[in-house]
C-alpha cells in the first residue's frame, strides 16, 4: 500500500508531558507500521472542547476550531483532517458541519478569522484516527500487520461518548458499537462482547468539577469490565482513558473496591501487536501497568 498522508490535529492532551502523551507515542508507532504520514497542523490551538462554553460563546468557540481548519487548509491543502482526541475530533467536525449548513455563521466566522488574516472554507473531511484505520485500511489489512497476536488477553472495548455520539464510527450503532471489539479481535486478543458499559459516560470534563458524581459512573464502567472477565480496558479517547485509569484509587477508597484495571489505547494494543517495544507502544505511560502487554512487548 502506498503511503497515506493526513493533516493531523494532535490536540492539547497529546503533547509532550501532557496527560495523553503516551497516546501520541503509540499512535506514532502504529502509523509508522501502517506507513501513515501525519502532517501536523502548524500552530494549531485548543478546540475549546465541550467545556469551553461558560466563558466562550458559540461563535468564539467555533472560531477557535475554524482557525485550526484554516491553518490546515493553508498547510495541508486537500488532506483530510485527522484527530486522535475525541473532543478535538467532535469540536472540529461539528464546526466544519455547522459552517457548511449555515452561511451566516460561515460569514461571521470568517470575519473573526480575518482579525488574524485567516480565512476558512471548511471543505475538508474531519475524521477520527479510528475511522482512518477502519475505512482506509479495514480490519483485514490491519490484521496483516500483526506480528505478535495478543493471545489470551481479554479486553473490554470502552468506546465512551464522543467517539460514538453524535457522529458514530463506521455507521455503527450508538448503543452497541463493535469496532473496538473487532479491532481487539483483529489484534488476536479476546473482546468482551457482552461488555455492558461500553458507551457509558465517564463524566467527561465534569470529572474535575463533579468528582463524586463522575466516580460513581467510572466505578460502573470498571465493575462491568471485571464482570465481563476483562484483563484490561481499551479506549479511543484520552479523557476516557484518564478518567477511568486515574481515579481507581479514589474509587477503591470510597467504595472499598479493589480495582486495578489497566486502561490502554487501541493504538497501544496495535503497536504491541505490530511488534513494537513497550516504550514505542507507550506502555510506560500506563499508571496502572498493562502487564500482559508488557510481557508480549518484551518478547
Amino acid at each position: 500500500m502506498a503511503k497515506k498522508e493526513y493533516s493531523f490535529y494532535p490536540g492539547c492532551s497529546s503533547q509532550k508531558g501532557a496527560s495523553a502523551a503516551n497516546y501520541m507515542v503509540s499512535v506514532d508507532a502504529m502509523c509508522e507500521e501502517l506507513d501513515v504520514q501525519l502532517n501536523e497542523i502548524p500552530d494549531w490551538n485548543c478546540c475549546a472542547a465541550s467545556i469551553g462554553y461558560a466563558g466562550g460563546g458559540e461563535l468564539p468557540r467555533l472560531a477557535m476550531s475554524a482557525r485550526n481548519l484554516a491553518l490546515s487548509e493553508q498547510a495541508n491543502p486537500g488532506q483530510d483532517v485527522v484527530a486522535t482526541c475525541a473532543a478535538c475530533w467532535l469540536a472540529t467536525k461539528e464546526t466544519q458541519e455547522r459552517l457548511h449548513e449555515d452561511d451566516g455563521l460561515m460569514e461571521e466566522t470568517n470575519q473573526a478569522l480575518s482579525a488574524a488574516g485567516l480565512n476558512v472554507k471548511a471543505d475538508q473531511n474531519v475524521r477520527h484516527m479510528v475511522e482512518v484505520l477502519i475505512e482506509d485500511f479495514g480490519y483485514d489489512e490491519l490484521g496483516k500487520h500483526v506480528k505478535r497476536p495478543l493471545e489470551g488477553i481479554k479486553i473490554a472495548g470502552y468506546v465512551g461518548c464522543q467517539t460514538n455520539r453524535p457522529f458514530g464510527i463506521d455507521g455503527e450503532s450508538y448503543e452497541n458499537p463493535k469496532y473496538l471489539d473487532k479491532l481487539v479481535e483483529t489484534m488476536g486478543a479476546e473482546p468482551i462482547e457482552s461488555y455492558e458499559k461500553k458507551v457509558q459516560c465517564c463524566g467527561g470534563a465534569l470529572a474535575f468539577s463533579e468528582q463524586d458524581k463522575s466516580h460513581e459512573l467510572i466505578k460502573g464502567i470498571i465493575e462491568a469490565a471485571y464482570d465481563g472477565g476483562a484483563d484490561m480496558i481499551v479506549t479511543p479517547c484520552p479523557l476516557c482513558q484518564a478518567n477511568v485509569e486515574l481515579y481507581q484509587d479514589h474509587i477503591n477508597a470510597k467504595y472499598n473496591t479493589k480495582f486495578k484495571m489497566p486502561v490502554v489505547y487501541y493504538s497501544t494494543l496495535m503497536s504491541v501487536a505490530y511488534g513494537k517495544d513497550a516504550k514505542q507502544a507507550g506502555l510506560n505511560g500506563q499508571i496502572i501497568k498493562a502487564k500482559q502487554l508488557e510481557e508480549i512487548a518484551g518478547k
Binding site: G17, Y53, A54, M64, L113, C161, S209, G285
Partner: protein, 208 residues
C-alpha cells in the same frame, strides 16, 4: 442583576421563549420539543438534575425565566450526546444546555458557586491565554477554586495521581512556568475578541 439582564427583561417582556430563541445557542429548537422525556431518561447525570432538559424546555415555554436561568441543571451536562442521538425531534439538546448555561452566566444569573461553571471559566481563560490547555495550571486552578484550604486538601488527595502521571511522563511540573502555547497568541486572541464582538452586537441589535 447585571444590566444586560435588566435590558433583556425589558426587551422581551414576559416572552422568555422568544428571548431564548434569539439569544441562546440553538435556542430556536426549544419550541420543537414534544415532551417525550427521552432526553431526561438518557442523561448519565440524570438524578442530579433539578429540572431535566425536557422540563427546562417546558419551563421556558411557560416563561419561568428566573427558575431556568438560576438553575444549576444545565451545568450538569457532561456532553455525552445521548440525548441528541435519541431525541425523536432532532433537538441538539447538548448544545442547548451549553447555550443556556452560557447565557445564564453571561446575564450573571448562574448559581455563584456552581463548580462546573467555575471550572469551565478556568478552562476558557486557560486556553484563551495560551491557545493550548495548560493541564497543570488548570488542575491546580480547579483544586483551589474553592479557596486555599479546600485547594490544599484536594491537592493532597490528588498528589498520588499527580505523582503517578509525573512518573508516567504525563505531567510536567515545568508547565507551571509557561508550558505549551501557540506561537501566534495575539492573532488567536484577536480572532476570539472579534468573535465575541460580533456575538455581543447580535444580542444588542436583535429587536424582538
Amino acid at each position: 442583576m447585571s444590566n444586560l439582564n435588566t435590558e433583556m427583561i425589558e426587551k422581551y417582556r414576559n416572552n422568555f421563549l422568544k428571548e431564548v430563541t434569539a439569544n441562546v445557542e440553538e435556542g430556536e429548537w426549544v419550541k420543537m420539543c414534544m415532551q417525550c422525556g427521552v432526553c431526561s431518561g438518557s442523561c448519565p447525570f440524570g438524578p442530579h438534575w433539578d429540572h431535566p432538559p425536557q422540563e427546562l424546555f417546558m419551563m421556558i415555554r411557560a416563561g419561568k425565566r428566573e427558575e431556568v436561568l438560576t438553575s444549576s441543571s444545565m451545568w450538569m451536562c457532561t456532553s455525552c450526546y445521548n440525548c441528541i442521538v435519541r431525541c425523536p425531534r432532532g433537538l441538539p439538546i447538548t448544545h442547548i444546555m451549553h447555550g443556556l448555561a452560557h447565557y445564564a452566566d453571561r446575564l450573571g444569573m448562574a448559581p455563584k458557586e456552581q463548580p462546573t461553571m467555575k471550572f469551565a471559566h478556568k478552562f476558557w481563560d486557560n486556553i484563551v491565554k495560551n491557545g493550548r490547555v495548560n493541564e497543570l495550571k488548570l488542575s491546580l486552578g480547579v483544586y483551589f477554586m474553592n479557596g486555599i484550604a479546600e485547594g490544599i486538601k484536594t491537592s493532597l488527595k490528588m498528589q498520588a495521581v499527580g505523582l503517578g502521571m509525573y512518573k508516567a511522563k504525563r505531567l510536567n511540573p515545568m508547565e507551571f512556568f509557561g508550558g505549551h502555547t501557540v506561537k501566534d497568541k495575539s492573532g488567536m486572541q484577536a480572532i476570539i475578541e472579534k468573535a465575541k464582538e460580533i456575538e455581543e452586537a447580535k444580542i444588542k441589535k436583535f429587536e424582538g
